[in-house]
Amino acid sequence: MPDLPRKLQAPFGVSSPSGAVTSTRRPARSGVALRSVFRIGIDAPLGRLLLSLIGLALTLGLWQLASELVGRYMPPPRAVLDNILGNLFESRRLNGLGLPDGGYMPHLLYTTWNVTLGVSIGVSIGVVTGLASWRWRLVDEITDPIITIFGTLPILVAAPFFLIWFGLVAFAQVSLVAFYAAVILHLYTLRAARNVDPRYRDYALTLGANDRALFRRIMVPAALPEVVGGIRIALAAAWGLAAIAELLGAQFGVGRVIVSLTAVYDVESIMALVLLLSGFAVLMDLLVLAGRAWATRWMPREGRPT
């Protein structure tokens, strides 16, 4: 192809004597990680992992920079990591503040247990009332205004009532979490049930389905992916709710420890606890995600909720 401009001959390959392109491979270049991400593709697991690592490195870099600029009240990542390792199971700092033995772990487990219990109770109540509202219009008419009022109630307004009514015990925190989880799940379940295509119901009825079969084998599996979405939202909110309830008044738990640490300006320990709590929250979310992957295994990959 002597008459053609060089660019049009074989842009990424070598022309054979007959003019056919024998290799279309672009010569490999040693480049930055970002370029390899785009070559691998953002959707590929390796590409996503690389991007996550870039994000993590950026956060740590900015954190380090901020600690150097701010000083004492912004401890560097290394100091917070040392704090976590040094206080996880035994902590003189906490003992010095009059908190029980055992380091951060018992408090983290206490808050995690309250969140798990509260979300479980709330999800059970919300799913049942949501389905009842879908099934019986009377129930929907009665619950709709209640849910609307409770759904818009700010948490900082509601939390003191729970503490006054139930005292500074775990029950107050669990019931606060359960209350909000129930409101969220009621709304998600009702919407999910209403979104189930009526043609599945018709088909099931012509196949002799009674109320029980309709509910158990049609409504539940069809609505489940959306309901699990609600559980994720409830869980994400629950960590904040449990911590707020503990901040306002509790004998134990991450929120209680943070109150004590704030009084002595121990920012390093507060950051360590917040990071640990986030780690627990991420682990719990991964568990729910695994559950959802199982519940939606019948869906086409592109149709699954993200």
Partner: protein, 265 residues
């Protein structure tokens, strides 16, 4: 082998209220009977009442007036005695193929293992034995229709109602499903009422064609062409005469021969 059932429709009217406030008579006093084991096609243009009549027989759409009796019993709601295959893809996507076919059988009271064994036999009949553990999303549209056919036949419902079941499929897939359906019908002797807007489809499948127009029955035609009905059969004088009659009833010639100047550009 189970046998079909007779159906009697008397004075069936179905009135819907449109959002504009006007009422629409989807069915206007239909009187018709179907004999046990008949394969009847309801042919007509969209919106003239074919599907409403079928849904009324199924018990899914209540009648404003009149009565439907299947095997002498008044239809008051959907039942396992009247299987239905819908135009849309209704195979439950969250159940594996075998569980879809076993669904009606479980509702009938069969144990899990009994239902699975009957379902497997029916999956073999529709040549899907190798896909019993697949999810519906892993099958083609034609294969999912075969799952739906196996599901309704498996329940031994004496009456099968089919609402344009093959409308969304390509021509070759449809031909293979016609063969499968007529074969199963001959072997089981069920009564089948099949809605279609395709005259050729009706000629391939039916013993009898009801032309539905304006919520009523415009004509009741017998099809005595021998089976299987290949293209020569469908070009026979009887088939051509039936096609002409249906075309005339539906006013298709007028639709095709628009007067010059009628189409606005």
């Amino acid at each position: 082998m189970s046998t079909g059932v007779s159906i009697e429709v008397r004075g069936a009217s179905c009135r819907f209220r449109h959002v504009s406030g006007n009422t629409i008579d989807a069915l206007a006093g239909v009187d018709v009977s179907f004999a046990p084991g008949e394969f009847v096609c309801l042919v007509g243009r969209s919106g003239h009442g074919k599907s409403t009549l079928l849904r009324a027989i199924a018990g899914l759409t209540p009648l404003t007036e009149g009565v439907v009796r299947v095997g002498g019993e008044r239809v008051q709601g959907p039942s396992l005695q009247r299987g239905m295959v819908f135009q849309d893809d209704t195979v439950f996507p969250w159940m594996r193929v075998i569980d879809n076919v076993a669904f009606g059988l479980r509702n009938k009271g069969l144990t899990r293992s009994q239902a699975a064994s009957v379902a497997n036999e029916w999956l073999e009949s529709v040549e899907l034995a190798d896909f019993s553990d697949s999810w519906p999303r892993e099958l083609s549209g034609g294969m999912r229709k075969r799952v739906a056919i196996a599901t309704v036949f498996a329940t031994e419902a004496p009456l099968l109602l089919m609402d344009e079941p093959f409308g969304a499929l390509d021509f070759v897939t449809r031909l293979s499903l016609y063969g499968l359906l007529t074969d199963l019908w001959r072997k089981t002797g069920r009564t089948i009422i099949f809605v279609t807007h395709d005259i050729e489809e009706a000629l391939i499948l039916a013993d009898r064609i009801l032309v539905i127009k304006d919520g009523g029955i415009a004509d009741d035609l017998r099809v005595s062409l021998p089976r299987p009905r290949d293209e020569d059969m469908r070009a026979s004088p009887e088939a051509v005469a039936i096609t002409k009659t249906i075309t005339r009833h539906l006013g298709l010639a007028e639709l095709l021969n628009r007067r010059s100047g009628e189409t606005q550009l």
